[in-house]
Symmetry: C2
Subunit: 284 residues, 2 copies
Amino acid sequence: MEIIKDLGRLKEVVGQVRAAGQTIGLVPTMGYLHQGHLTLMREARKRCDLVVVSIFVNPLQFGVGEDFEEYPRDLTRDAELAGGVPVDIIFAPPVAALYPKGYNTFVEVEGITESLCGCSRPGHFRGVTTVVNKLFNLVEPHVAYFGQKDAQQVVVIKRMVEDLNMNLEIVTVPIVREADGLAMSSRNVYLSPEEREAALVLSRSLTTAGELIDRGERDARKVRETMVAMIEGEPLATIDYVEIVDLANLQPIDRLTGPVLIALAVRIGKTRLLDNKMVGVNNV
Amino acid sequence: MEIIKDLGRLKEVVGQVRAAGQTIGLVPTMGYLHQGHLTLMREARKRCDLVVVSIFVNPLQFGVGEDFEEYPRDLTRDAELAGGVPVDIIFAPPVAALYPKGYNTFVEVEGITESLCGCSRPGHFRGVTTVVNKLFNLVEPHVAYFGQKDAQQVVVIKRMVEDLNMNLEIVTVPIVREADGLAMSSRNVYLSPEEREAALVLSRSLTTAGELIDRGERDARKVRETMVAMIEGEPLATIDYVEIVDLANLQPIDRLTGPVLIALAVRIGKTRLLDNKMVGVNNV
């Protein structure tokens, strides 16, 4: 495994691999790897000749007052974990290599970026699509892997790839959870033991929503209200959003039908956590 | 020569050529080809195994009230001219193939798109960078060719390619002029015989500017004022802008030094025409 920080060296490797007709799989991450990331890497390993993991805490996707500075970073630990998969390359460029002086180009998906996380984090997805577009151009992957935990991000990136006619496939991998149900996230490290316990309300509310739907509930408002009441019952939790949306366009729906995304963002103390559940509602 | 309208067929050809290790040259145009376009194609022909000319009148780069509907189109004539170079492929997709229902992704270069043409045509360069980004992803060229006549467009596209780490080279080709000095443009067809004569004031003002600088003038304001007076002396001409800018960042300059761009947009009757001159000012 090689750790590459230099763009020129990366292009050299990518050029050689592409010229040899081999396939490239990319797992874009912000590092501080957990089992969710490792699952993505293992999927890439099964299918691609060269597996590249990018580790880059992207300043462009953090808003003012967000946790760009505090975001956990540990390249030594990450290299050990990624090496165990194993991956072939860790691409960990410095910020100035991706955003040099005079940088001025942005990729933006409109519409579907305005709801959910786009509402509470304006500019966030513009930062995501810009850096992911750059990573795709740099690594030239045949396949790129994203976790379903960031459900809106997946929809937005698929839209960018389709709209801009980018020549690669996006593969998504289901949420990986701790034994007690908490969705894995690099930000879980921020949680105190008390907050860690309180954070279980996210996955529990999704489980309850699933049970309601299984029992025949088709009124999205009722499902949502049950979830909101559960989360509000947890003193350490503050809701950012709880939404039930059409998986295709991320617009809120009233009646549960077709492929539906139940998505939530909740602050536990100061830590903003995401979770979601996809439901294929069968109305027959 | 093959005329391709279908994205799937284009991808098939591009995939085969890339897999065979051959080089691809792209000349993006809006059609109604003239000698300027043909010069770009000949440059591509010298260097690339596969030469693709795209012909696409891009609605996204036209503003409300601009000439998207009237823009001249003649694929039969274009195919004959391109076939004479010869090129290998004309890629002429329908609008709905590049912008299907639900299309929502845009590429934007900020800063350098706000002056000159960006000032009088808000949104224009966003349309240009978005479609050029798509064409680059579709055709996967090793080299793309642009005319120096659209000087700001060249600077903007080079910035996009560099910022987004796109893996291709941009080559620019000098302005091709009619015998009397008029810069070639598909829009010249709009001109009446009287307007055609009046339009010579653009190139004449640039020649005069060059002479002033050759004789030692270094005050950009004086050069500009001479040009403005010349153009205002032509009754059919209305100035959109006459600017003397730093070639690197397109910001107006006071003292002529280093690589300078003298750029102008002038309406002759209803037809908006561009012209420009690059000057490497030696102050020694």
